[in-house]
């Protein structure tokens, strides 16, 4: 059928355009990061100077390390809490109050949550630091993990669990052997989303961070760099951040394949 192949042709070229749209800006930044002049417009020769400058910058490395700590811990906590929440809720009757509570962290403007948490922590005389960023990031991450895991649970067959328990397996064994493998792709997707959101977030982080460089995170640094001028170090930073996150996603994809197969 000619119309069929014509629509196929369209679909395939559309897909290519989408890939082009997604990757062109990234590739441009990566190429520019090796530009000697540092100006984004003129190519003046290959250089890794900007990477050297970046790696010499102790505060950036420190911030990157802080970001990683915050993102990893908040991802672990929110993946566990969010998954449990999803498991509990999916087996309960529809409750719109509960749904609203779970939507809320996704839609409260960042600045509101930021100011609210800082005032709250101050009221309790709670010492701020990286840990207070973790506590705050878990709030919105729980909601996103829970939402992603719930979509996975939509097609879940609960009779499998009953069967397992009828056969005498304890709840924990059932969870580990039956439930977890089934929902694992959802949990993984949710935790990747949580990780990304935590690595990107900086308004809540700025407000709930302790004062001083010991709790400065990378997005705060990047925001300040972008605001204060177009320096080629941003391109180098972009390239590194992207390579690191790409490697991580790639590895987690591998792990996922290993587990589900």
């Amino acid at each position: 059928m000619p119309s069929f192949s014509l629509s196929n042709l369209y679909l395939n070229s559309h897909l290519k355009v989408v890939y082009f749209f997604l990757y062109m800006p990234i590739i441009v930044l990566m190429v520019l990061s090796f530009n000697k002049a540092g100006l984004p417009t003129v190519w003046s020769g290959f250089s890794v100077e900007w990477y050297g400058k970046l790696l010499d910058n102790e505060s950036i490395l420190n911030a990157a390390w802080n970001t990683l700590i915050v993102a990893v811990i908040s991802t672990i906590l929110s993946s566990i809490l969010g998954t449990l929440l999803a498991l509990g809720i999916e087996r309960m009757k529809v409750n719109s109050g509960l749904d609203a509570l779970l939507f809320a962290p996704m839609i409260i403007p960042d600045i509101v949550l930021a100011i609210a948490l800082l005032s709250f922590f101050t009221m309790l005389d709670f010492t701020l630091g990286l840990h207070s960023i973790v506590l705050s990031h878990v709030v919105f991450n729980i909601a996103f993990v829970c939402a992603v895991v719930r979509t996975r649970l939509k097609n879940f067959d609960y009779s499998v669990i009953e069967a397992s328990e009828d056969l005498g397996a304890g709840s924990f064994t059932t969870f580990r052997r039956v439930t977890l493998p089934i929902i694992f792709p959802g949990v993984l997707a949710g935790s990747l989303l949580a990780f990304t959101l935590s690595v990107d977030e900086f308004i809540i982080a700025f407000f709930t961070a302790g004062a001083g460089s010991s709790s400065t995170t990378l997005p705060m640094q990047i925001y300040s760099m972008i605001r204060f001028g177009v320096t080629p170090e941003i391109n180098a930073m972009a390239t590194i951040v992207m390579l690191v996150s790409f490697t991580m996603v790639f590895l987690s994809q591998r792990i996922n394949k290993g587990i589900t197969q």
Binding site: G129, A211, S213, R227, F228
Partner: protein
């Protein structure tokens, strides 16, 4: 259940270990704008005084104000903020009275720097840098601008090639000055008039830009920008055709100051830091590095004349600067300013 318990325990342990890490460190925390002091100044301060210190960064006055108001300033010792915010922090009782005995280097300041109207006698703040707001432009691409109207009603060649500051006080100031009003006006009809002028100016503006305007001049994206004098020098450094001028209607003067939070647990060390900044030697280093004028007479008088020649606005005398009106906090009228600015930025 076991899982939950161990989870809770882990969370607590992690929290505890982090807080231990932060409370344990008895460091002086200084918050400043990124790039507004020599990058290794705090390192040098640590070495020379033996006081442990670290730097936090804020992108805007508003950001640090939000954080300090919500946290009562806990955790911070020294803050760099612009003069109207000194007034607010003082009224909100968040900053400490300064002990001048601990800052002998105040002797290095111009006498005029002791008479700034937002804090006469520098009771709660010490001026760090000062200057004026005006027009920063490409002398090779246009004639010298003379009036605020050259920015607000640019000729056809300049349309879409000018930028303005977006921070509410300075944006409104351009409107007020073009009409001959005070930059601290609280008169509703004057505010409305300024709003109208700025609304129509928006049509010919490329962008509102507080921080990268000089880069836009260098790249050629913009031909004229609304700018702080010191920051215009960053452009001049890359292209000597970039020049600064104060429009004939006059302008405002800004002062960026250092204050000590009331909740600081290291007030003595904080005073020592301020004293360090005000020394002659460090003062010279700051001017050469950040290219802003400072009220440090001892330092300003030993700046290399070649530097003054390359960046003429550095040579402006205190009397010339003080001729301009100083920004004051607006109290309740702030609401009206914010609303006017919202209206301007939202208009088409």
């Amino acid at each position: 259940m076991k899982l939950l318990k161990s989870l809770g325990a882990t969370a607590l342990m992690l929290s505890a270990s982090f807080s231990a890490q932060t409370t344990w460190a008895d460091k002086l925390v200084i918050s400043n704008w990124d790039g507004y002091m020599p990058a290794d100044m705090v390192e040098r301060f640590k070495k020379e005084t033996g006081i442990d210190a670290e730097v936090a960064l804020h992108a805007t006055n508003e950001e640090i104000m939000g954080k300090v108001v919500a946290s009562k300033g806990k955790g911070y010792d020294v803050l760099f903020v612009s003069s109207p915010f000194v007034e607010v922090l003082n009224k909100l009782d968040l900053i400490a009275k300064l002990d001048h005995k601990l800052i002998p280097n105040t002797k290095n300041l111009y006498s005029q720097a002791n008479e700034l109207n937002y804090d006469k006698g520098n009771k709660v703040s010490m001026p760090y840098a000062w200057g004026t707001t005006g027009l920063c432009y490409r002398a090779d691409l246009m004639d010298e601008p003379t009036s605020w109207n050259d920015l607000l009603k640019p000729n056809d060649a300049l349309k879409g090639k000018v930028t303005m500051l977006s921070t509410d006080r300075w944006l409104m100031a351009a409107g007020f000055l073009s009409l001959g009003y005070s930059v601290n006006s609280t008169n509703p009809s004057e505010i409305a008039e300024a709003k109208q002028v700025l609304k129509s100016a928006k049509k010919s503006i490329l962008a509102y830009d507080d921080a990268t305007f000089y880069a836009k001049l260098v790249s050629g994206e913009a031909t004229m920008t609304h700018a702080w004098d010191g920051w215009c020098n960053y452009g001049t450094a890359e292209n000597p055709n970039i020049k600064y001028v104060i429009p004939k209607e006059g302008t405002d003067m800004y002062v960026d100051s250092m204050v000590i939070t009331k909740n600081s647990k290291m007030k003595k060390e904080a005073h020592a830091f301020i004293n360090y900044v005000l020394s002659k030697e460090i003062g010279v280093w700051i001017v050469n590095n950040v290219m802003y004028k400072t009220p440090n007479e001892a330092a300003m008088s030993s700046i290399d004349p070649a530097m003054m020649k390359a960046y003429p606005n550095l040579a402006m005398s205190p009397d010339e600067i003080l001729k301009q009106e100083q920004l004051r906090d607006l109290g309740k009228t702030q609401k009206a300013y914010t609303k006017a600015v919202t209206e301007i930025l939202a208009s088409n």
